[in-house]
């Protein structure tokens, strides 16, 4: 989340008149195939989406995401298969964005004025106070969770628990699509951990590991999108 041309710093004074429809704004992400997540939300997300690891195309670095669909045309969210209470934080925070001015200082809250929800609905600083607070809370949790999520990824990589996800979906017409570039954790490899350091490292992150492993049951929900 870096400053983009269409982002304005949110200020009560200048945005007093601004209207925002938060639920409309969230829909902007319903057609994304992957949405980034932090580990603090694994315990809710695990019941609804597969939590996967994906690589960044520019750096090759892993990050955590939920998988929403096989392609952007049809996703769990665009097909209404998940209710609003289970949206990832990266969607809950929309149309807010964190704006980082320098690496030393904390980011400030910005607003994506190109978002489809902006200019509609209720005034942002009036009737909408709860919705605004919720979006701000989501943004804060993402920001605070970045580092621990990064640590989690480093740990699972160091413990050699990451494995490639072999996912092939068959459409009604018989067409097969292999989903490339998805990774997850392989809980079976935990048995191979033989050094004490790694074992205590494992204990620290085990609940996230098991949550991520459990979340893979939702691959069947993704496959159902093909039906």
């Amino acid at each position: 989340m870096t400053t983009m041309p269409s982002v304005e710093i949110l200020e009560e004074h200048s945005h007093r008149q601004l209207r925002v429809d938060f639920s409309e704004a969230r829909k902007a992400y319903f057609h994304r195939r992957l949405v980034p997540v932090v580990i603090s939300e694994f315990s809710t997300l695990m019941f609804h989406y597969p939590i996967v690891l994906v690589k960044d195309g520019q750096t090759g670095k892993f990050s955590c995401s939920v998988l929403l669909g096989i392609s952007e045309e049809s996703t769990l969210l665009s097909r209404g298969r998940v209710d609003d209470g289970a949206l990832p934080l990266s969607i809950q925070r929309l149309p807010l964005v964190a704006v980082e001015s320098s690496p030393e200082s904390d980011p400030v809250i910005g607003l994506d004025i190109d978002s489809p929800g902006v200019g509609k609905g209720e005034p942002i600083f009036g009737e909408n106070a709860t919705a605004l607070n919720d979006a701000m809370a989501a943004l804060g949790e993402i920001y605070r969770g970045r580092e621990e999520t990064e640590d989690y990824i480093q740990n699972v990589l160091a413990m050699d628990l990451v494995s490639k996800l072999q996912a092939e979906v068959t459409y009604k017409d018989g067409r097969k699509v292999t989903m490339e570039g998805l990774y997850s954790v392989d809980i079976n490899r935990v048995a191979r951990i033989d050094d004490d350091n790694k074992r205590s490292q494992f204990m620290k992150i085990s609940r996230y590991l098991y949550a991520q492993n459990f979340s893979l049951y939702n691959m069947t929900r993704i496959a159902e999108l093909a039906g």
């Binding site: 960044d56 520019q58 750096t59 090759g60 670095k61 892993f62 990589l157 050699d160 490639k164």
Partner: protein, 469 residues
């Protein structure tokens, strides 16, 4: 005493070697100025003209049809674009021509979308490996000159005498002392098999050349034939390594230098040149009692197919795998190792000679003599006679000790316009081949669109590293 300090091209086997040693690929790339190598482009080897080139890529060719039928297709009217064997059957050539890397930043370390080896800075590489061996693999490293040898009754080495007059006892010795052959030559006096009647080159001039700007890095070795040898051109991250390998029988040192300087252009005028002399060939035996020669002490022939470091890897693997528990069993290794590596040297020499003897160049005595039957090993003449009548087959390559497989022979032979008699498989079959080749070329475009420029990827690896999976 320094190392020989040249040798920058490797084989894909280097990936396995580094991985097995526990090296992280990104660390290696950063520390050794390394780049990706996807094969070699041979310029002016076929007829010597400006536009003459062919590729020996590292990827296996795609299978469209039995070789006979494919070769027939290449020579028939359906091949309207006059595709060469390598262009039609292997998209690595197109990747090299476009300066693309063999993988992306998301590809795990040591894996490739296309097969690859490395180009590396040999000084930096030897330092890197030394550090890894000492710090990670706990190898005890003692630096001293070997000045003599003490032996046991049966002639086996019992200890090395060092410069400071101390002795270093051991059970087993690997002579990796380069051209000086401290144990295999100076102590055991194993005769050297001079192979200069087959491979004429016996000298090299090497130069390190800065890039004009941080532009494209070739992801293949360029080998350009000259009047009496050939010039290698290897792109590392920070510089190029260029060298002229030539035959002193056909070319004076000053002429060879002129050819090299002309190749490099005006900017090379003041660059220092390193000169190396060698006799092409190898020891008659490599393993004697409790000592084995590995690397240049075992032998050296021109680096046309980067086979020297490969032989080091093959030898190291062999020794690690086969070294017996009991010293009394060493004699079995001695026999087996000598037989296998004798075979390997012969097969390398034969394959290198193939690059020369198929040429239609007649412009200098060097090229004329290279095609004279008296300079070609009988085994190669025999194969070529066979393959004139019928295309080569895997059944011609049944030895596991073969260094160059059928596919490598095909790339060179058909790249050099070797003529094999073929029977016409019929219009129907030829059209099927045509369709397969068309389809393959469509896939090629997809793969190439996915691959980054070589330098772009190397920069990204330097900054972000590569994932293990």
């Amino acid at each position: 005493m320094g190392t020989v300090g040249v040798g920058e091209g490797t084989w894909p086997s280097m990936r396995t070697t580094l991985k097995d040693l526990g090296v992280c690929e990104a660390d290696f790339i950063r520390a050794c100025d390394a780049t990706f190598k996807q094969g070699a482009r041979f310029n002016r080897w076929v007829d010597g003209s400006e536009s003459d080139f062919y590729y020996h890529p590292l990827m296996l060719p795609a299978y469209f049809a039995p070789l006979n039928s494919l070769i027939h297709w290449l020579g028939c009217d359906l091949n309207t674009e006059d595709l060469s064997y390598s262009t039609a059957s292997c998209y690595q050539e197109a990747a090299c021509e476009a300066g693309l890397a063999p993988k992306a930043i998301t590809t795990p370390q040591y894996q490739g979308v296309l097969n690859y080896a490395y180009h590396l800075d040999t000084h930096k590489f030897s330092e890197f490996i030394k550090k890894h061996c000492i710090e990670t693999l706990n190898v005890v490293h003692k630096v001293s000159d070997v000045t003599g040898v003490r032996t046991e009754e049966d002639g086996a080495i019992s200890s090395l005498i060092l410069q400071d007059n101390t002795e270093l006892p051991g059970d087993f010795y690997i002579d990796c002392s380069g051209f000086s052959g401290v144990l295999i030559d100076k102590h055991f006096h194993i005769p050297f098999a001079d192979r200069s009647e087959v491979l004429f080159c016996d000298r090299a001039l090497a130069v390190q050349c800065p890039y004009d700007q941080a532009g494209a890095i070739a992801s293949h070795t360029v080998s350009t034939a000259t009047g009496s040898g050939w010039i290698w051109d290897i792109g590392l991250q920070s510089r190029r390594g260029v060298g002229h390998v030539y035959s002193s029988r056909y070319c004076s040192d000053s002429d060879a230098e002129q050819v090299l300087r002309r190749h490099l252009g005006e900017k090379s005028r003041d660059l220092p040149i390193k000169s190396i002399r060698y006799t092409p060939g190898h020891r008659e035996r490599f393993w004697v009692k409790n000592c084995v020669a590995v690397g240049l002490s075992a032998g050296f022939v021109e680096p046309l197919e980067a086979s020297s470091i490969l032989l080091v890897e093959l030898s190291a693997y062999w020794i690690a795998e086969k070294l017996p528990l009991r010293r009394s069993e060493l004699w079995r290794c001695e026999k087996q190792f000598n037989d296998i590596f004798q075979y390997r040297w012969n097969s390398i020499i034969e394959f290198l000679k193939l690059h020369y003897c198929l040429s239609s160049r007649k412009d200098t005595p060097f090229w004329r003599d290279n095609t004279s039957a008296s300079s070609i090993p009988a085994s190669l003449i025999d194969k070529l006679e066979r393959w004139k009548e019928k295309s080569p087959s895997v059944l011609d390559f049944l030895s596991r000790a073969d260094v160059f497989p059928l596919e490598s022979y095909c790339f060179v032979m058909y790249g050099m316009n070797f003529k094999t008699s073929t029977h016409d498989p019929g219009k129907n079959r030829l059209e099927k081949i045509q369709a397969k080749i068309d389809q393959y070329r469509k896939e090629t475009d997809k793969v190439l669109a996915f691959l980054p420029q070589n330098r772009t990827l190397l920069n990204a690896i330097n900054e972000h590293g590569l994932q293990r999976i």
